[in-house]
Subunit: 554 residues, 2 copies
């Protein structure tokens, strides 16, 4: 069926390793050679920060396979410290440089898979080539950083507050080091919208991280300590720097071979992971993918897609129908006691793409509030106002965040609507959820919004209208101790039925409670009495998050 007798794979982690193993399971006879530039194959890339922090005690735990174990198990020819220098597409050969022996040789292929991954971005800033500036992408990166952590190191600065940056700064605090975190954006974790990340900023600071948002590194000056010059004029003394600004696809080999590169810089592939040369495939962080929600080409360097793409490339090569459907950008991050996760598009990207959307904030308990240990999850769900189809979702909280985002990710994958959300039959017993899960409540609230039962005002709108509306806080007096919105008048929901005649019928009303549920009940009541009334989306809790997001940059 397939004529491929010799498969070469460039890169032996995630996508490359998956392709090799799948290839062997499909074809026992083919020669399969894996070339890995570094000394390790199939290592736990995503585990590196956790060994730095000590949660993963043994470095060996990160090495999932050795060349020997892959050879024994799969009959693969695994060559580490082997850099592929170039591809001769005409001759169907690659040139390999053995970094240990210095030898260079050619190897022929019937099919070639490129899985070189992505490289940490190192901006061309003065002093950034200092040996005390590190990245954290590979096991050797980790080894170098760990070795540099001598007893004289007291303070480390992480640049970039994405997934790796956040995990790294937490690891540093676990090691008892002082830590600063510099991020150019006015928020951490930009896959989420700013207001949804404010609990993360708060917990970082509560755990002793100096957080510098909206701040850029300009240069690194050597000395007994390093001096970091920041864009604000601020200077920072630190012992080590870890760069976690992001990664860019390793496209050089593909580019030099004349393969098409996408506008994002990722290698261009079709749904079978084939590049513009049908004998050459590419998978993982090196390729650009179609975003399943907006159909745009994007870079989404994630382990799950990389593994699945490797499998699909091997299937195609060995004559089995398989295609990649695109990525939706599901991701998650642990930040001390909190978890933040998202899937699909966020509000910023919907605005940028001028895609119509409605948004709903909901703060609900991870499980029945009467069962001990319940904690609050803050959810933001974005959906199409016309069809009700989900566009994206974000969540932050202590527990149950991964579950809700995974359910929403699958709902997004299935093209589900807010009606489907309202009807979801999720597992319920008091330790796990609620008879109406927060996801059901999101769906029900979205239905109410769409049908006009629920009239919302968003925090950014309320900020503009303050003073022009009658603002009613319907919480009980004891809840207000922790603060309320300036100018609000307190009429608890439990007394609103008696006291609604105190309101001015000629002036628009905005009601709010803590999370939005009682606000909705109050809004329905007043609306039916003839008031022009809106309920604050997600209540005071969302207001606080939004407000903090307006003031958290340096």
């Amino acid at each position: 069926m397939s004529t491929v007798q010799k498969l070469l794979i460039v890169g032996g982690v995630a996508g490359g390793a998956s392709a090799a193993a799948r290839g062997r399971r499909l074809n026992e006879a083919a020669q399969i050679i894996v070339f890995e530039r570094g000394p390790y194959v199939s290592f736990a890339n995503c585990g590196l920060p956790y060994h730095l922090g000590g949660e993963i005690a043994e470095r060996e735990s990160l090495l999932l396979h050795t060349p020997e174990s892959l050879t024994a198990r799969f009959g693969l020819d695994v060559r580490v410290n082997s850099e592929v220098l170039s591809i001769d597409r005409q001759a169907k050969t690659i040139r390999v440089h053995n970094r240990q022996t210095g030898e260079t040789y050619d190897e022929s292929y019937d099919a070639l898979i490129l899985a070189p991954g992505a490289a940490p971005i190192r901006p061309p800033l003065p002093g950034l080539d200092n040996p005390r500036v590190f990245t954290l992408r590979t096991v050797p990166d980790l080894d170098r950083l760990m070795n540099a952590m001598t007893s004289t190191v007291k303070h480390v600065t992480v640049v970039g507050a994405g997934f790796i940056g956040l995990e790294t700064v937490e690891a540093l605090r676990h090691r008892g080091l002082a830590a600063s975190l510099i991020e150019r954006a006015p928020q951490v974790l930009t896959p989420l919208d700013a207001e949804m990340t404010t609990p993360l900023a708060a917990t970082l600071q509560a755990h002793g991280v100096e957080l510098l948002l909206g701040e850029s590194l300009l240069s690194v000056v050597d000395g007994e300590q390093l001096t970091l010059q920041l864009e604000s004029g601020h200077q920072l003394s630190t012992d080590l720097v870890v760069l976690a600004i992001g990664v860019k696809p390793e496209n050089q080999l593909a580019r030099e071979a004349g393969l098409e590169i996408g506008t994002t810089g990722g290698v261009l592939v079709n749904s079978h992971q084939q590049t513009s040369d049908t004998s050459i495939y590419a998978v993982g962080d090196a390729v650009e993918v179609l975003h399943t929600v907006n159909g745009k080409s994007v870079l989404l360097p994630l382990a799950g897609p990389a593994n699945r793409q490797g499998r699909i490339a091997a299937d195609t090569i060995f004559g089995r129908a398989a295609s990649y459907r695109g990525s939706q950008g599901t991701a998650i991050c642990k930040v001390f006691d909190l978890t933040a996760a998202s899937t699909g598009l966020n509000e910023r990207s919907l605005q940028a793409a001028e895609i119509p959307y409605q948004k709903l904030y909901l703060h609900g308990n991870d499980h029945a509030s009467y069962y001990p240990g319940a904690t609050m999850i803050s959810l933001k769900v974005l959906f199409d106002p016309a069809s009700g189809k989900l566009l994206g979702a974000q969540a932050v909280g202590e527990k149950g965040v991964d579950k809700r985002i995974d359910v929403l990710a699958v709902a997004l994958q299935a093209g589900m609507t807010i009606d489907d959300l309202a009807e979801m039959e999720l597992s319920y017993a008091p330790p796990y959820g609620a008879a109406k899960d927060p996801l059901n409540l999101v769906g029900m609230a979205a239905q109410n919004l769409q049908s006009g039962l629920l009239a919302l005002i968003n925090p950014e709108q309320l900020a503009n209208e303050l003073g022009h509306v009658q603002l009613i806080d319907v919480r009980e007096p004891e809840e207000i101790a922790s603060g309320q919105i300036a100018g609000a008048r307190n009429i608890p929901l439990s007394q609103l039925r008696e006291l609604s005649q105190l309101l001015d019928t000629s002036k628009p009303v905005v009601v709010y409670c803590m999370v939005g549920l009682r606000g909705y009940i109050a809004q329905r009541h007043l609306s039916q009495l003839g008031f022009q009334v809106r309920s604050l989306n997600g209540g005071y809790k969302t207001w606080q998050m939004w407000n903090m997001s307006q003031h958290q940059r340096v």
Copy 2:
């Protein structure tokens, strides 16, 4: 739009309370009266066993609302201790008996919602009317049981190992009482298939519960202690008995009013929750529902559906389009350190209905194995062999069970196939999952099974074929210390490539490892060498579970 000016609701918990609150949000003017036979409305039915066990310390936590709070918030007329005796459909009135004053009166309605719930089954066994025999369905039930737990009570017997029975027996152990659990079926928790429940049986016994499966209670004999006569001839001395055999729909009021009752005993309703009388609606545990997977009428007394049905009834009554889609039977139970959950149909019900299916067992870690604290989840997924569509799923494990079943529940709701499972983009960071989540692996394995790459043998088949096949254990020697299948020969996967010539090419081969992954790799290898080879579904772990299920009855 709607002409309903007076809505009566029979039952003030779950479905009834949801309908009342929704009704008020839709219609401020209507008179809404809730009649509750018991002294409490809107109480946490599902929380009762947890107060018994002490996890929920305060009894008041179970009382989510009082008549007064519902009246203040929603302007409802809530009448507790008010039993509805009969319905006059002609006159559109109900007859109410005030159990405190003894007064009986009629109340008229434009629309009537029946939400009376279900009642614990009390079989007509001799001695079962003993005051030391309890049920656990309402707050008064709980109060009676708690009051009976004097210091002389040392041993309690629970009859029925369903959700309530299991939660109750755990609660009793938490209180330090000796406990026996009697179940007529040869397994606990019959929504799951027997082999999937064996870890629950093991943990019950490990926590000191005397477990009597395949055993029936015949009679209760009074004495200083109660003497329980069991079908096996066994006798059991105990201080108290809690009956948790199951519940039956409270259909008497509907039946006596001449409303149609389904074959299951549940009140018959259409998708708008309307009974055979268009002015009368019924919701919750009292009604029968369509099972979304097989389209059959079933009883599924669950809190989530009850709440959603209440909302739908109120919508319909007040002129809004809404319909119930049916139930899929998603449920979950905490059993000491384990969680068990399921959704859709199980293998027993598929067999009974003669629905074709394939099954896959998979045992995978709840999160990346190299990150501390990973524990194993055992999954069983059932799907249609032709279309690949999901039919049902079960899971048991310490952590992450609720997440996987919820994702599968939504996949089932969406009509997803095993291909969709393989491509799910779930959130991954080491503390939460894996680059290939167990659910992705299930999908991939199912694809392999469907395409013929994977050839499986199920434990029940292997039991029949033992002695007729070459049985190869491909685990490493050190893993075999904890046992292996009789007659198996150990050839570790890491040596199989060298040693495969030791196998007899003329005799069918069965390979197995611990959970099935290495078995699959071995099967692919040997199959391509020309062997007729199958891999044991779910490996030795499934074998153990299945084997235990064959021997766990009394």
